[in-house]
Symmetry: C2
């Protein structure tokens, strides 16, 4: 249960190591790789944002409001609060006649340090548009407005919008979502602890449409195409998901979540992958996911330099010296032989 | 070997958990508490900054240059780059006729977000003075100048200053320091992997003077007094070490290091404590250290609200809602009964 998934090396020795759980399943739910207790309930956090955006698309709301690739990608995003993200979030809200004041996600400074410093340098202060979840929340606002729902309180589990997206989560993952497995996320909407196996299964379905109704399958394909067309929107400068999809295009859809969650769809292989770093570290979940992608994303993936760089990268210090590296470890290492 | 030291709870269940190693020893080296493999070599990183400052004091350089409490505390610091830290670092350098240009630690934005935003808002950019290690490096500069050593390259292991501080490390911890266990730290000076037991033993000696020569013991007492008088300097706003010592005064000297290291001296109890979170997470090492302090820092410590708050604290989201908590776990929990 406590298998290594990543190691941090310094001066030729392991300085820190991360344990985790990982699973690869096909759209029928067959497990093709597993490490650790894949049935232990785990909060997927922001990894399921694309599932939360399904009702926006399949209801027709996105079409009626004219949401374009960048906007749909931002609805699936944990973004870095760079200027382009903020502009697209504002555009989504403007399509409903609203602005940042209606967002219930809370406010924080841009995750991207350069964006934060630029905002401060300009004498500005962050708004809810800079919240990494502003696109997801703008999507909720779009859905609520299109359905003429009362907007205030859209983050609560019993609001019609939240009921609709929670039903989509349950359908796509095949896991129960209710008060017994509910926590509250950083942006105040519920997050539901589900088996990591179910999260991966959801990503296999999301990537293939198998096991989803026809409208839902079409909506999933639309969201994947939007993110493939605008991968910067789903993350930002230097972020794993953006870097990965800028390289791989529609061959993979990946999404991080807080506390060391990574999940991905591999449409061509018909697979879904989910990784949880037990201690919550993104750096570990990321290198482990990259290593699994190298193994399962087709014959060329192993030699793809971007993937290799995501599975193992140098640590540099403040003088730019290479002082160590972060790498996938144990059974996750791309060259591991069982 | 993989014992839990901290857990993150959300929605009533454990979302993430951290494993670690911990040890409490007296100044004779007798182990009074241990968890995990305390003989495994571990990089102490910035936890030993106070040991690195010993030559500055015991050589008489600090006295000749007129370094005061704030400056000596900053020499032991991993600071947040707030205005007061930057001013004191500059003052230390000015005493030698130098400025930030001589620092070899590299440059980064202030760790404290408010300080970073204020710097950007003022149209500024960070200098080496903002580096969290600038005080330690200013201490090296003071020592080199007092000894009329060539200043350039003071970060290299074969520079007289680095040889002197490395000899102090070896003496205080009783562990070998050489090319075989050397890594390079974030600020470019060497860091040496030593058993966690040796790190704790060093802190027991540093807190009591036992096992040190008389000059070194006096220098240790001087540095502890300086940090107790100016605890903000050793960290900054909201930082564990500053918050702890602002509350406890000279009853404890604690110092964090990167990658989940915490170490502390308990002078009155004659003990040293060291904690390493295996995955490198500060949040885990901090709650574990606080829990050990509650247990070993005398009869009133268990009920001290500041210590309790450091051993277990709420997680709040961007709307200020309490969504979970971080707490010492397993054998580290202050209420644990073996």
């Amino acid at each position: 249960m406590e298998s290594a998934i990543a190691e941090i090396e310094r001066g030729g020795r392991v300085e820190s190591r991360h344990a985790g759980t990982a699973v690869v399943v096909d759209a029928a739910g067959k497990v093709v790789f597993s490490l650790g207790d894949i049935d232990r309930p785990t909060y997927p956090r922001s990894a399921v944002k694309a599932f939360l955006a399904l009702p926006l698309v399949e209801s027709g709301a996105a079409g009626r409001l004219g949401l374009e690739d960048e906007e749909l990608a931002l609805a699936c995003a944990s973004h870095t609060g760079e200027a382009a993200h903020v502009a697209v979030a504002a555009r989504m809200l403007a399509r409903t006649g609203h602005d940042a004041a209606c967002l219930e996600c809370g406010t924080h400074w841009p995750v991207d340090a350069d964006a934060a410093h630029a905002l401060a340098r300009a004498g500005g202060a962050p708004s809810a548009l800079h919240n990494n979840c502003s696109g997801k929340h703008a999507g909720f606002v779009c859905l609520a407005c299109d359905q003429d729902q009362k907007l205030g309180g859209y983050i609560h589990p019993d609001h019609p919008v939240m009921r609709e997206v929670t039903a989509a989560l349950a359908d796509v993952t095949g896991a129960a979502h209710g008060p017994d497995n509910m926590g509250i996320d950083g942006c105040s909407i519920p997050t539901y602890a589900i088996p990591l196996r179910a999260l991966a299964h959801g990503f296999a379905r999301f990537g293939t449409g198998h096991g989803l109704g026809p409208e839902r399958a079409r909506a999933a394909a639309r969201l994947r195409a939007a993110v493939a067309a605008a991968p910067f929107m789903v993350g930002g400068t230097g972020r794993f998901d953006s870097v990965l999809m800028q390289e791989m295009g529609p061959a993979v859809f990946s999404k991080m979540g807080a506390e060391g969650i990574m999940a991905a769809s591999l449409p061509d292989q018909g697979l879904g992958i989910a990784v949880k770093c037990h201690d919550g570290a993104p750096r570990a979940a990321e290198v482990a996911m990259a290593a699994l992608l190298m193994r399962f994303l087709g014959p060329d993936a192993r030699d793809n330099p971007v993937l290799r760089g995501l599975a193992q990268h140098d640590l540099r210090n403040w003088n730019g010296m290479t002082v160590g590296r972060v790498r996938a470890a144990g059974p996750m290492h791309p060259d591991h032989r069982p």
